[in-house]
């Protein structure tokens, strides 16, 4: 299992969040999630400008095994979507924390970091799941 990037926040739904310089939050799925789901064949992206609510579905990633929801980890508005995934959904498999980002959200207010996981806490969750 590869090392988790230390500059990201994580969720128990196997998503990651990165705070960008412009204040927006990039969101994707973790290396663990892409490995578990297998080769992605399709990504259904939300509309730019759409409001999202923490816990609500925001996108769908479809692999050869399953179609899974990507949940919004925070409240906010979608300010960008990774259109490149429409043609190359497997980018999520090859570079989940980089080019494989899925959406950028402008958070509505302060992010409740207590509701998210640190790299250590997420690693602990993965260790627990493996047992």
């Amino acid at each position: 299992m590869s090392e988790l990037p230390g500059d990201l926040m994580y969720t128990s739904e196997h998503e990651w969040l990165r705070r960008e310089d412009d204040g927006s939050i990039s969101i994707g799925v973790t290396d663990h999630a892409q490995a578990a789901l297998g080769d992605f064949v399709y990504v259904e992206l939300p509309e730019v400008g759409q409001d999202v609510e923490s816990g609500g579905d925001m996108a769908v990633v479809e692999s050869v095994k399953a179609a899974s929801d990507v949940y919004a980890p925070i409240d906010g508005k979608v300010v960008a979507v990774n259109d490149g995934l429409s043609d190359d959904p497997e980018t999520i498999n090859s570079d989940p924390y980089g080019e494989g980002w899925i959406v950028k959200i402008e958070p509505a207010g302060e992010i409740d970091e207590g509701a998210l996981l640190t790299p250590d806490a997420y690693q602990a969750l993965l260790d627990e799941e493996e047992v």
């Binding site: 399709y42 259904e44 479809e62 399953a66 179609a67």
Partner: protein, 456 residues
């Protein structure tokens, strides 16, 4: 002989294994007020011999009338080979394949069905079928709402010729998801959608039926382009036989419809008092991920041999649970097998001659009937194999009098379209001979002359 394989002892052992005190305990989730204590309306059991006798008597009461009713289900000739082949045990005993790839024959049949239906409707992809035409419209509506994400209105417009029963079914299935159906106005001269289309908020989709339920032919190009200009999806509801003569929905207007659906019964499925039938659905490639149901694809196996497989099943209910594209996404496997054999057997030219003959017979019938006093066409314009007529008296009593003469003389449109008055919808398929048509004309002439229903 109850034909129940397990004994009382087996039942007791099974109950004990799962820790249930008795059989009733298995149903205790059902609220008491929904349970019926006794079945008073059900008579005591009869012997096999007695029940067979009773059923033969009941069947004889139906007689063998000549059927001139269409209205969604059509009396076509079904070649003997269709059901001789479809009822072979290899096809007949196979339900939806749970171990799909082990059933290559079933998958190949569905693949061939999909290929032919896609070609007939002029669209890119087909699913493996749905329950019937009505539920296919409901699924098409749900699919349009999923696919047309920019429009959140949930409002679907229906051309006036959409089968009213389909609307009812679609409203029940899709209504719970805040999808509403609204009818466009009918032009009383043509029976089609009015020339002036409303300029209000854009709908998420429009459904157009061709031929329309009252038998007219819509200007489908105009309606399709009008809807697309407004960002709406277009759903074409079509009669598969008619597509041998009429423009396929994939070619309506500039861009073609987004989704086509309809009732598959005319393709080799007997009338059978209303079912089972099957619904078909095809769409443009770009909407394929929103299409409900199974889709079979052709591929190559590890040895490079051609084979068939389920494709895009990641969105089916066994994987997606409540988020599946549909939770009634079974297919009508046996009916589809019959339809596939039917289409392969008659071929496109055969289907075309069936469609032509049906049209010619209907034209002959309409000429004969409208020569009678008190019978005229309700709408002007061309038609396929169904025509609405106006009678000078209520239709119900006339149909009753005809049925006493062993003729099912058509469908009374008034309960569904009250504004149309005394409106009778008639249909003559390729099964009707000149003598049949003359007999119907003569019988209606007698019935009208006798004054049946005039006082009603």
């Amino acid at each position: 002989m109850p034909f129940i394989p397990h004994t009382e002892k087996d039942t007791e052992e099974m109950l004990e294994a799962i820790g249930a005190p008795d059989l009733d305990a298995l149903f205790d989730e059902i609220p008491k007020d929904l349970m019926i204590e006794s079945l008073d309306g059900v008579p005591d059991a009869m012997s096999e011999m007695a029940i067979k006798r009773l059923m033969q008597e009941r069947a004889a009461q139906d007689g063998a009338p000549m059927c001139f009713i269409g209205a969604g289900a059509y009396d076509h000739h079904v070649p003997q080979a269709v059901w001789d082949i479809a009822t072979r045990s290899e096809f007949y005993t196979a339900y939806t394949p749970y171990q799909a790839e082990a059933s290559q024959g079933t998958l190949q049949t569905i693949y061939e069905y999909q290929t032919m239906i896609a070609e007939l409707t002029g669209l890119d992809v087909s699913n493996a079928s749905l329950y019937d035409g009505a539920s296919a419209l409901a699924e098409a509506a749900l699919m349009a709402v999923r696919g047309n994400r920019k429009n959140k209105s949930g409002r679907i417009l229906l051309a006036p010729g959409v089968n009213p029963t389909y609307e009812k079914v679609a409203a029940v299935i899709a209504g719970a998801q805040n999808i509403t159906f609204e009818r466009l106005e009918m032009d009383s001269v043509t029976g089609n959608t009015v020339a002036d289309l409303p300029d209000d908020e854009a709908p998420v989709a429009i459904a157009i039926q061709q031929p329309s339920f009252p038998g007219t032919l819509e200007d489908v190009d105009r309606l399709t382009d009008w809807a697309h200009e407004r960002g709406a999806f277009v759903i074409g509801i079509v009669n598969p036989t008619s597509l041998a003569l009429l423009k396929a929905p994939g070619h309506w207007g500039e861009a073609g419809v987004d989704i086509a659906c309809g009732e598959g019964q005319p393709l080799g499925v007997p009338l059978s008092s209303g079912g089972p039938y099957f619904g078909f659905m095809t769409c443009k490639q770009k909407h394929v991920r929103q299409m409900p149901g199974r889709i079979i694809g052709r591929t190559t196996d590890l040895d490079g041999q051609p084979g068939f497989t389920l494709t895009l099943q990641a969105r089916e209910q066994h994987i997606r649970r409540s988020k599946a594209t549909s939770n009634i996404c079974t297919n009508q496997g046996l009916m589809v097998t019959a339809a596939t054999i039917y289409m392969a057997l008659v071929g496109f030219h055969g289907l075309r001659s069936i469609a032509c003959r049906s049209h010619q017979n209907t034209a002959r019938l309409v000429d004969g009937l409208t020569a009678l006093d008190g019978v005229e066409r309700l709408f002007e314009g061309p038609y396929f194999h169904e025509v609405a007529l106006r009678l000078d008296r209520p239709v119900g009593a006339v149909l009753e009098a005809l049925s006493e003469r062993n003729i099912l003389g058509g469908f009374d449109l008034q309960p569904m379209y009250p504004d149309l008055g005394n409106a009778l919808l008639v249909c003559a398929t390729e099964t009707k001979t000149d003598a049949d048509i003359e007999a119907f004309v003569a019988a209606l002439g007698e019935v009208l002359a006798e004054g049946n229903g005039r006082s009603a």
